[in-house]
């Protein structure tokens, strides 16, 4: 027979942690649930079409309470002419931002990790600044800068897709740099020394030893920067010109009321983000299994631990 365990501090903390997580994630759960909400019974009574999801947002009645299960909002949302281009734009920008930021981050990580302290610290401060300065400040600054640059430099692109991309690369490159550098520093240089010792020059050592060993961090950085870029709202909202990203379209839709269609779009976005974060964790965990003793979890990768 098992004895009942007493109520310990450890269990108390567990309960507390669960409460905190509930507080954080319940709103998200509500959004997901209400993405499947139907129109109010009174609206439904006056509706004679075949597809309830084709009803205009203003005629849905009270959708802040649960009415009935209605899954058609997802397909309805994706057929909307304003949403599809915005989704494509967001995916495209996120992919480009991820690739460019990861390459820049990789180069910066290699350079900074072996730089003298005197030089490294100012660079480090700049890198952390892009992450800790409130995004709205960076957004305003970017807007002013891009407008001025356009006016004074002929080749500079007007506000639009390119400026969204440029603005996002800044902090994403910092993020990628921190992830990659954490692994690079954790790796030490004994394997590089072993490669040199066996007659391998700097270039082939990088190609055959350093880069393959950095690969998990590089992939993780790419996945994570994709996610950060994809769901970014503040910066694109300032620097987008006439280009619409998915979060911007979503935000515009919210101004006309939180309808099940909006919830469905938000849910889709959440899904895409979750998939990428999940992939990131898998990549980092796998690299730890193959390579025990090197690097820590996501936290230490981000330089938090």
């Amino acid at each position: 027979m098992r004895r009942r365990r007493p109520f310990t501090a450890k269990r108390g903390f567990t309960v507390w942690a669960l409460l905190v997580y509930a507080f954080l994630y319940l709103p998200i759960a509500v959004v997901v649930i209400f993405a499947f909400n139907g129109p109010s019974p009174s609206s439904l009574a006056g509706f004679h079409g075949s597809n309830v999801c084709s009803m205009p947002p203003t005629k849905l009645g009270n959708v802040a309470v649960w009415n009935e299960f209605e899954p058609c909002w997802f397909s309805q949302g994706l057929h909307d002419s304003t949403y599809i281009p915005a989704i494509k734009t967001s995916l495209g920008i996120a992919a480009e931002a991820a690739v460019i930021a990861t390459v820049l981050g990789l180069i910066a990580a290699l350079a900074l990790a072996r730089m003298k302290r005197r030089w490294r610290i100012p660079f480090d401060i700049l890198v952390y600044l892009t992450l800790v300065v409130p995004e709205i400040v960076i957004a305003v600054a970017s807007l002013v800068f891009f407008v001025q640059a356009r006016q004074n430099l002929g080749f500079f692109p007007p506000l639009g897709r390119s400026t969204i991309l440029l603005g996002q690369i800044v902090f994403n490159a910092s993020l990628a740099m921190l992830i990659i550098r954490a692994r690079f520093v954790g790796m030490g240089d004994r394997l590089e020394e072993a490669a040199y010792d066996l007659g391998s020059g700097p270039v082939s050592t990088f190609r055959q030893v350093t880069l393959p060993r950095l690969m998990p961090a590089v992939v993780a950085a790419a996945l994570l920067t994709f996610t950060f870029s994809f769901d970014d709202f503040v910066l694109p909202n300032f620097t987008n010109g006439t280009t619409n990203t998915w979060p911007i379209v979503l935000w515009s839709a919210v101004r006309f009321g939180i309808t099940p269609a909006v919830n469905a779009l938000a849910t889709l976005m959440l899904l895409i983000t979750a998939v990428f974060v999940f992939l990131t964790v898998i990549v980092l965990r796998r690299s730890r299994v193959v390579d025990p003793g090197d690097g820590g979890g996501l936290g230490s990768m981000l330089g938090l631990g």
């Binding site: 004994r190 394997l191 020394e193 072993a194 490669a195 040199y196 010792d197 066996l198 007659g199 391998s200 020059g201 082939s204 055959q208 030893v209 393959p212 060993r213 193959v290 390579d291 025990p292």
Partner: protein, 385 residues
């Protein structure tokens, strides 16, 4: 300090037979001098150990040969050629690293073939050579495994094969057995010696384990504080330590300090106080305060008090221990310092068996036992372990 010890043997050897030579090499890290004006000649085909406690400069010396560190002063020659400024990948030496440093993302065979690949040896050829090297270190049937799937001892063999397959002029080994357990370490010591005999490559072996150094090496360089204290064959290092450091570091040593009261005809007598007189062989000036060392196994204990003669010290037994094949007692001399006496248990009834803690005994030794170890330190006398 005792750079004068040098190596007598190398004087007659021509430069063609010297694989590695240090000429007054100094290496500093900030304010710390890791290697201080070291001279060393490593002969072709020999097994030379750099032995010393951590921080003595042995690993720095090895890393300078490998090319990972550059000397601040002096010259370093490999095969008679000054290698200053030559990067590690252009030196004809290979290293077996302490933590193996195998490439975790490559198979065992690819790890061993890595160096040959850099030399642009064809795939078939390098895989064949790698397989032969793995056979030499007796690790067969693991070709496709990743390093993480192998035990420490097996990884060590891979690291060894990876360096040996390059057939370097000199193989550098940086405490390669440090991470293995005792039994495996003993096995690998024998293996290493066998392999070195078989391939005939010069081995430079860094270790802090005196037993390892003494059992495998042709010559041992004992290092301390960035200098070579003594460079000689293992037997000479043990039997004729030239400095207190070497005497203390290699094996156990009992120290007795005193004033030289007699010195004539290659013999001396040292008055250690409390009626203890040490007579031994060696040249030393009268009136000097010197330190004399006597190995525990060169001392004997006899029941009863002292008889007042030289090389006999009355003392009291403090502890007695059985060390498997040996018996050891610790005895306190009248001066208060303690000595260790050790006896091999070859006979059925060794003399120490009848002696117990609390007994009064006479500790004796013969005239060949005491080593002169230079001036006695002025500080409080170091207790023997």
């Amino acid at each position: 300090m005792t750079q004068a010890t040098a190596d007598h043997a190398s004087a007659a050897v021509t430069s063609e037979e010297i694989d590695v030579e240090f000429r007054a090499v100094t290496k500093r890290f900030g304010s710390l001098t890791a290697v201080s004006s070291v001279n060393l000649r490593v002969h072709k085909g020999e097994f030379l150990s750099l032995l010393g406690p951590s921080g003595c400069g042995k690993t720095t010396s090895l890393r300078m040969i490998a090319g990972f560190e550059q000397p601040d002063e002096g010259e370093l020659l490999i095969g008679g050629r000054d290698v200053s400024g030559v990067p590690p990948y252009k030196r004809d030496v290979n290293t077996v690293f302490q933590q193996y440093a195998l490439f975790p993302h490559m198979s065992i065979l690819d790890n061993v073939a890595y160096g040959l690949k850099q030399r642009r040896v064809s795939k078939k050829e390098r895989h064949q050579q790698a397989a032969e090297a793995l056979e030499l270190v007796r690790l067969v049937g693991r070709d496709t495994h990743r390093p993480s799937m192998l035990s420490g001892g097996q990884q060590q063999r891979v690291a060894l094969a990876r360096a040996l397959v390059m057939n370097p002029r000199v193989l550098l080994l940086d405490e390669p057995l440090g991470a293995l357990d005792l039994k495996l370490r003993k096995e690998m010591q024998i293996e290493l010696k066998r392999i070195q005999d078989q391939v005939g490559i010069t081995f430079i072996y860094v270790t802090h384990d005196q037993e390892e150094a003494l059992s495998m090496s042709d010559r041992v360089a004992v290092m301390s504080n960035g200098v070579i204290e003594q460079l000689d064959e293992p037997r000479a290092i043990y039997d004729r330590p030239l400095t207190p450091f070497v005497a203390d570091f290699i094996g156990d040593m009992n120290f007795i300090d005193g004033q030289v009261v007699e010195a004539a005809d290659g013999g001396f007598a040292v008055d250690a106080g409390q009626g203890v007189v040490v007579r031994g062989r060696g040249d030393v000036a009268r009136g000097r305060r010197v330190r004399v060392g006597i190995r525990p196994e060169r001392m004997a204990a006899h029941p009863g008090g002292g008889d007042g003669r030289a090389n006999s010290a009355p003392s009291e037994v403090v502890t007695k221990m059985y060390l498997g094949d040996q018996v050891q007692i610790v005895a306190r001399l009248a001066s208060g310092s303690e000595v260790i006496v050790r006896e091999q248990r070859t006979s059925a009834d060794p003399a120490l068996d009848t002696i117990n803690p609390g007994d009064q005994v006479a500790i004796t030794w013969d005239e060949a036992a005491p080593h002169l170890l230079g001036d006695a330190p002025h500080a409080v006398e170091k207790e023997t372990p």
